[in-house]
């Protein structure tokens, strides 16, 4: 009898969490795994760049100028004779950091804010969402310029500024999800069990609202990367000789006809990242939807 219970228990304890089940399902989705592996590889390269980059990012060779891919410079050089591969590697550090950090900030604030507003409702909701509306109404450029002027230009501030804009939409999505979910009886059941609002939000509401959030997150990361490029282009973000994929692409676009590799390779790096994100995001959404895949 006891041994029977124990064997049942060990079986019961395995894979009873949503996340563990989701991982088992995700593993079967080859595209998502390819996306995950590529992303991890990109992040590792970005972290190791200072040690593995073939040249220093400041090294110019004005006599050399822009050259197509060659044995010395695998991806060619730009008009100042700088190695493009080195630039892409260093640019990736900035772009990936902006993408992931700013999106994480947006995710954290937006999901929490939206979940609380949606769950509590009433006046709290009204005040919280009016704040979101006001933030929406602020002209984004003025907001960033002000931040830069007051605090000076720095990377961390850039992340925060972008995150501070992107969380607004996240909060709205989360709020509407939570509002419809909290009408459901399983939330009432959780209340009648005596769960605290915090636990209800974390255990019952957020897992059920993840689908749209994940999709929006995978859309936000590329949007944030492009936003950084836009700001840098205006002189508000990263400044040369530091660079990012967005900046490389915008310079590459200017000289597209003479030196196409300056556009193609940074563009390729960004595309690979975006594709990986989309595959991973789709895979995650399906994996977390327990109803979709039966095994």
């Amino acid at each position: 009898m006891t041994s029977e219970i124990i064997s049942d228990i060990t079986e019961a304890e395995q894979g009873t969490s949503l996340w563990k089940d989701a991982w088992l399902r995700l593993r079967k989705n080859h595209l998502a795994i390819v996306g995950l592996v590529l992303l991890v590889a990109l992040i590792i390269i970005a972290l190791l760049t200072p040690w593995i980059a073939p040249y220093s990012y400041e090294t110019q060779n004005l006599e050399l100028g822009a050259t197509p891919p060659s044995a010395q410079h695998w991806l060619g050089t730009d008009i100042f004779g700088r190695d493009l591969m080195t630039q892409i590697m260093y640019g990736g550090r900035v772009s990936l950091a902006v993408g992931f950090v700013a999106t994480s900030v947006a995710l954290l604030i937006g999901v929490t804010w939206g979940a609380i507003a949606g769950y509590v409702g009433g006046r709290v909701d009204a005040v919280m969402m009016r704040l979101v509306d006001i933030m929406y109404a602020l002209p984004f450029m003025i907001f960033i310029v002000l931040l830069m002027v007051v605090f000076g230009r720095n990377m961390l501030l850039l992340f925060l500024a972008i995150g501070a804009v992107e969380w607004l939409t996240m909060a709205r999505i989360m709020r509407s999800q939570v509002q419809s979910l909290r009408q459901q009886e399983f939330v009432e059941a959780a209340i009648s069990l005596g769960l605290s609002p915090g636990k209800i939000i974390v255990r019952h509401l957020i897992p059920n609202a993840l689908g749209p959030i994940i999709v929006y997150t995978t859309l936000t990361i590329p949007a944030v990367m492009l936003l950084e490029a836009f700001l840098s282009f205006l002189g508000l973000g990263i400044q040369p000789p530091k660079t990012s994929w967005g900046l490389l692409i915008s310079y590459g676009a200017e000289t597209m006809e003479e030196f196409p590799w300056l556009l193609i390779f940074p563009g390729l790096a960004l595309s690979i990242t975006l594709f990986s994100l989309n595959f991973l995001g789709d895979g995650l959404r399906d994996a977390l939807d327990v109803r979709r895949s039966k095994d």
Partner: protein
């Protein structure tokens, strides 16, 4: 010749898991001017059979394997899609279970009524409108001229079903297929709709197929009854044969599932809960009059008894249960639970009391978190209230599963992988996990098939005894309540209008409203 003659109909669904025969060689016929009822549980193939006649099952995965269905001599199964489109809605019309999902919420009912007419017949708009108005009148919509331009949400459930029926009849079909048309409705409304269908069928002399899971519903109206189980017809015959001389064990099981006599009330001297002058009002903004869902209600619940609470939707019966459990804010009044006033509790003290009182919800599809396995759902209350710790919780969960009759190997499954009855078992397990003294059961079986209903009710009675539960059983179904409850409260518009034992209420109802409720019980003749 019969209006519709189905012979050896076979329908199967081809999936990755293999071929599933949904309808396995059934034959039946429908006569003009008669109501043929098809009875069976969900999954018995009763709806699939009827839908496949009109080409309404998705193909693939659905596939009609064989048989004939002669409608006025023409084989529907051989008809092309364009021929079927002409037949559907003109010669054969359908009404469905849920009128809300079948009406377009963005279109006035008038427009929706005229649409099939304008599509199938060569009429002018004015003629179509006149016809639509006339039909609305016929199905009992009050003041059709003024409600013609209203949207579906402005009607009650019963009125929407009437609109659906009008829509089905507008092209004067010869055959009407009604798929559980009253399942989503209150008993009193159900009785009206059943009467309406029976009247229309007589006046218009059409054939009707009435699909239902509940034998009692069709008892008063069906001429012919076909009982289906697992895709096969197990028994068929006229109404008298099925109800009084049923031979097949499954038919007998269905008949047995119709709740029987009043429970012999047991004496329960000790009072557990006193409800005093309870009011729960829902505000509608600053100026509007509040909705008095529960209006000055007082009653006692005695320890160990099952107290039935009956009334229509909107009578406040669910709100009373939720008010006692503090799931909705109480406007005024008191609820004394074993000497503690629940309405005054907050925070930790309330959490402590929650352990002693639990709720079982109506819809087991909505009341379970779709992303939590059975294990997580049952472990949550055990851990929250410190009944088990992380090491012992697994055995606690398995013990609960044993108690509610769920196989242990289901522990890792998610709610969507279960049938309705099994889900309700999970929900009951969750409610009992904290070892409560008091449980509010809010229509716990009304979303289930009749035979499953009987099983779940038995389970609740058994567990009630084993756990020494006091139960407030909320239901719109008087037949179920009188079978279960020691005492019954009848609720109407937020007030208690009558109370007594099942026997008293059934034999000598004092109030007009109670009498109306009793009249509405489907298949009432069967109960006596």
């Amino acid at each position: 010749m019969a209006l519709l003659e189905v012979n050896n109909l076979e329908v199967s669904f081809v999936t990755r898991m293999g071929t599933n025969k949904a309808v396995d060689g059934i034959s039946f016929s429908v006569e003009t001017g008669k109501i043929t009822a098809i009875i069976g549980e969900s999954g018995s193939g009763k709806s699939v059979a009827c839908y496949s006649l009109l080409g309404l099952i998705p193909q693939p995965p659905g596939r009609v394997d064989g048989g004939t269905a002669l409608f006025e001599g023409k084989d529907l199964l051989q008809a092309s899609e364009s021929e079927l489109r002409k037949i559907r809605g003109r010669d054969v019309a359908m009404i469905f279970q849920d009128p809300m999902t079948c009406l377009n919420p963005f279109m006035t009912i008038g427009k929706q009524l005229m649409e099939p007419l304008l599509f199938h017949r060569d009429v002018t708009k004015a003629e179509a409108k006149a016809r639509a108005l006339q039909l609305l009148e016929e199905v009992g919509i009050r003041d059709p001229a003024n409600t013609f331009d209203n949207y579906p949400h402005e009607f009650s459930g019963g009125m929407r079903q009437r609109v659906m029926i009008a829509m089905a009849l507008i092209n004067e079909p010869k055959l009407l297929i009604a798929d559980e048309p009253t399942t989503a409705l209150d008993v009193t409304i159900q009785a009206q709709i059943l009467q309406l269908i029976a009247d229309l069928q007589k006046n218009r002399d059409i054939g009707v197929i009435f699909i239902s899971h509940d034998l009692a519903v069709v008892a008063d109206i069906a001429d012919q009854i076909v009982v289906m189980q697992q895709g096969k017809i197990v028994e068929a015959g006229d109404s008298d044969h099925i109800f009084h001389h049923a031979e097949h064990p499954y038919t007998q099981k269905l008949l047995a599932a119709i709740p029987g006599d009043s429970k012999q009330p047991e004496a329960h001297p000790e009072t557990l809960i006193e409800v005093r002058n309870l009011c729960t009002w829902f505000g509608q903004g600053k100026d509007a009059e509040p909705v008095k869902a529960v209006d000055d209600v007082s009653f006692d619940i005695r320890r160990g008894e099952i107290l039935g609470l009956v009334g229509e939707s909107g009578s406040g019966k669910s709100t009373i249960g939720r008010s006692i459990l503090r799931l909705v804010p109480v406007t005024s009044g008191h609820v004394n639970f074993d000497g503690t006033d629940l309405t005054q509790l907050e925070g930790g003290a309330l959490k402590q009391m929650r352990r002693r009182m639990q709720m079982i919800f109506q819809d087991p599809f909505a009341s379970l978190n779709p992303r939590m396995t059975v294990f997580d759902t049952l472990a949550e209350p055990l851990l929250l209230h410190g009944i088990e710790n992380r090491k012992t919780v697994a055995s606690g969960v398995l013990k609960l599963m044993d108690d509610v009759g769920l196989a242990r190997n289901f522990v890792r499954k998610y709610p969507h992988e279960f049938s309705g009855g099994q889900r309700q078992r999970i929900a009951i397990g969750r409610a009992l996990a904290t070892r409560p003294e008091f449980v509010v059961a809010d229509e716990p079986v009304s979303a289930l098939d009749v035979t499953i209903q009987a099983q779940i009710l038995d389970l609740m009675l058994d567990l009630g005894k084993e756990y020494g539960l006091t139960m407030l059983f909320v239901s719109h179904d008087l037949a179920v309540v009188r079978h279960l409850a020691d005492r019954i409260l009848v609720l109407y518009k937020g007030k208690v209008v009558e109370q007594g034992t099942g026997g008293e209420l059934f034999e000598h109802p004092k109030e007009e409203y109670t009498r109306a409720l009793l009249q509405s019980i489907p298949g009432r003749s069967l109960l006596d």
